[in-house]
Amino acid sequence: MLFYMVITMTKPSSDKADVVIIGGGVVGTSIAYSLSCYDLRVILLEKDNDVSLGATRANSGIVHAGYDPIPESLMARLNVEGNRRMSALCKDLDVPFETCGSLVISRSEEEDQIIQQLYERGIRNGVPELKILSADATLDREPYLTRDVHSSLFAPSAGIVMPWTLCIAMAEVFARNGGEIRLETCVSGLNSSTSGIRVQTNRGDINARFVVNAAGLFSDEIHNMADRPDFKILPSRGEYYLLEKNQGKWAKSVIFSCPSPITKGVLVARTAHGNLIVGPTSETISDKEDTSTTAEKLHEIREKASSLVPCINFSENIRNYSGIRANSDRHDFIIRRVPSVPGLIDVAGIKSPGLAASPAIGPYVVDLLRREGLQLQMNSSILRDPNRLKRKVVRFHDMSPQERASLISTDTRYARMVCRCETVTEGEIRDAIHAPLPARTIDAIKRRTDAGLGRCQGGFCAPRIAAILAEELHIKPTDILQDKEGSYLFTGPTKIAPESTCDAVAVTKADTISGRTDSMPAEVKHCALAIIGAGPAGLAAASKAYAEGITDIIVFERDKETGGILNQCIHTGFGLRVYNETLTGPEYAERAAKEIENTDISIFTDTMVLDIRSDRLITAVNRKDGLFFCHADAIILAMGCRERTRGAIAIPGSRPSGIWTAGTAQRYMNIEGCMIGSQAVILGSGDIGLIMARRLMLEGIHVKACVEVMPEPGGLSRNIAQCLEDFNIPLLLSHTVTEIKGKERLESVVIAQVDSKRDIIVGTEKEITCDTLLLSVGLIPENELTKQAGLTLDKNTGGPYVVNATTCLTDGFFACGNVLHVHDLVDDVTLEAHKAAYEAAAFLKANGNIHIDDKESISGPMSSVTHTQNTPNSLRILPSDAIRYVIPQYLSLPINNDIIDISFRVRQSYERAEIIIRRSDKLEVYRERKSHVKPGEMQKIHFSSSMLMAPEINQNVDLILDITEGN
């Protein structure tokens, strides 16, 4: 089948076609798909480098029920009909679709009336099962709605679909059945003649018998090439929030606020992926391609949506975007033959509910073409095999363990995880590149596989996807595009020197260091201790646990090597505390790895843990062992953290390439060897941002400014000195980036000063030209597996709750390093990992699961340890309002540690501070003076447990950690 496709895709395009479709959106591809079953030569022209790049890729993804359009209109008919067809179509094309129903919420008597009108209209339009729900019935269905609900209109037939997936699926089936898709092909003229229409493009002319104008936003311009002006497209922009999957729970159905003559409502809905989508706004604009977002409109969305569904947490935002509706100056869809131009069909003004109507638009247009004289003869190969009109794709994410295992047994490329957030495998990425309509850009891969769609927004997977694209398409990294033409990622390799001047160096060998040895037992069923992550925390935990006599250890690492993020931190400044000397990140990592080199600890690299159950059953996958299960008596979580992305801080503006999180940029520069731009601005003065400022300057990228929204820098003082001051990079405190400009690649950012409430001071805006923006705006502990294991997370730390130091509240789980809370220094991570190893070892010994020096006995399932919660017998440590978080949150009773270590972060800085621990019965147990206390620096105190003891302490007493201005 692949062979057949290649032939049709690569043979020289003839200049004749029965039908030319202009526009590769969901409308154009629906028509193309509907024509795929006939013996016709059909060419689909798309001006961009992929289909679905117009309104199709940025809309609500709602399959409206059909109560909104005016009765008897074409829109009403095609909406209801399209909705009816959608489910079967999506099933045939393997497109995620869910009939989740929709609710229009009334909150007043006037709105009750509007809802009544919508109901009556819906009945006339033939919307099935439509009904009006009482307030109680509405809240029964959607318990998170605002309490002031009056009534609602419930349309069970409404649904949610992934619009671009639908569009791509239809295009793929069209291409697979001999249809030709010409990308990056712009129509410049339509000349009518007796034999048809001559379509002029930048890639040659085509003589077509029929031309279907499905050019969306540009359909008026296409129409005007052949005929006198008739209708006009009035682009209307809608902005959106897309929130993390943990917010998807707030909406079971699609929830609309009631439209009114004055304000258009917003909708809150779960997407077909389980995220929460909130929006859109509506704003008439002049530029048909200006998909920027604006601060005002994003604010408007937050206000409106919060009044509808109050518990939405907008700090869980992963992306803002906007789409442009191809509204026209007509009320109805414009689908008709153009009387003065024989052979030309306009399919224009397909505004909302165009997506819902699209499955009906294709057949409707085909019928129109037939009536115009197009001969429709079923293709014989499709008659023989109707399945040729269907599609099936591999979605590892949605598979059961059995399906996954059997898939991997056919091709181990499905065992290597490329996108950890959405669980997308290397095999799926390669499939997308070899599909009938090949994916050729990072975003094209995202649209086909979901890789990069998740919470880290491509921070982890993009370098890997870029490598696969470069390999499969035989292109240089400089030719890899984020999205449309011009959205390049890299400007060249680092360390460019003319080949002739390169010095091949004869290296003087260091004394004795051998390579790392990783062992991979073929079958794993059980281990005493499993460690998730082989970064500094995981490696230190492994070596210390081994030293404590736990020898049956497996370390799981998703990367090809151990060391985690340290491998890309090539600067110095690590290890002063642990190794008593200043090391670079890779050196620190190598030392940590050497400590377990001569042990029989198993390290599984290139291995992704997919799931952890609360009974400590681990599901993992790698290319060597396939999908496998491992039951651990104890688990140390050491997954580290991820970076906050642009979405988390919702910077308005356009969405060009050239915006990177600092850590991703660090990987590209230091490991991948790619230059990421020429002029940069850095937002956020966290340590990674500062370190990267210096790196960019050293490697030849000019850093114009480092912008920090807070009145003081986020990173360590020494990094301000050696990374900014050394290079004369201005540090602009109380400033932020207010807008991002640039169509395909970043062109400039607008910065402005903010006041003490972080509101922008109008009039202070300044534009800085740059092609690169680095974001160093915070880190988030990577706790997806922790949540899967059923552990609850502390909102303040972002990590699991712990007792004493690293013991989680579920038996047998321990956490250390950045997964527990974000550290400033790797030395602290190592020391915390040692505590985790002690506590895990003590747990294993106490539960009799481990017999030191008798490995044979450690087999069979866990029996003695049951699933319990550790909290009842412990003492809480609560942060006061001035404290951002405290670790640990609990101390177990009776307290038997001599010294109690507490780590915490403050909310503001103090020149001189008093740190106080009080008991909830007001008794002060500890006080310490400290100077230069800053929010950016983790604080630590140690005190003797005897201070807590008298008078006697029990679980009814809490400890409160507080900080005040000292004198």
């Binding site: 490598a467 390999e471 010095d503 090539i570 110095t572 090391l583 190598e590 060897g673 003082s717 000195a721």
Partner: protein, 159 residues
């Protein structure tokens, strides 16, 4: 009097140094004093960066590779898929069957004069090494005539 932030350790003491009397205050340890005095006379920094490294693939690996390529898995030729997703991106600038290019992290073995950093970065641009490299290997014993060695900061046996 000159004010400066000590960069020797993460504490980052605020130092005050008197260039005429050569006195230092604000330091919590002797390393801070040494740092401040050096800043006054001849400021020094450790430079870290990366250099080009090339891994020549072994003949036995090539044989393995062609065996894999000839094997058909699920109807399509299996390529060198054990590596490609993990090859450094820079290798794709000049893909070659017999070698892989990557980047090796390096540092100056000691601090170097701050005003020589640019020269060192220039010199670093011209260096190419081949695997295997071990952490601590001396790449060049006198980088840009500073008298300071440039050393590898990680082991790369292959890419």
């Amino acid at each position: 009097m000159r004010e400066m932030t000590c960069i020797v350790c993460p504490i980052g003491c605020q130092l005050r140094a008197d260039p005429t009397k050569m006195t230092v205050s604000g330091n919590r340890c002797p390393r801070g004093r040494k740092y401040a005095l050096e800043e006054l006379t001849s400021p020094r920094r450790t430079v870290t960066s990366t250099i080009r490294i090339i891994h020549y693939q072994k003949p036995e690996h090539d044989a393995q590779l062609s065996a894999m390529q000839s094997a058909l898995v699920s109807g399509r030729p299996m390529e060198d898929c054990d590596r490609s997703a993990f090859k450094p991106l820079v290798d794709f600038f000049c893909p070659s069957a017999n070698h892989i290019e990557g980047r090796l992290p390096v540092k100056t073995a000691q601090d170097v004069p701050k005003d020589r950093i640019e020269d060192i970065m220039q010199a670093i641009h011209h260096l190419v090494v081949t695997t295997p490299i071990h952490m601590g290997d001396v790449i060049i014993d006198n980088i840009a005539d500073t008298g300071v060695a440039l050393i590898a900061t990680r082991t790369l046996l292959e890419l």
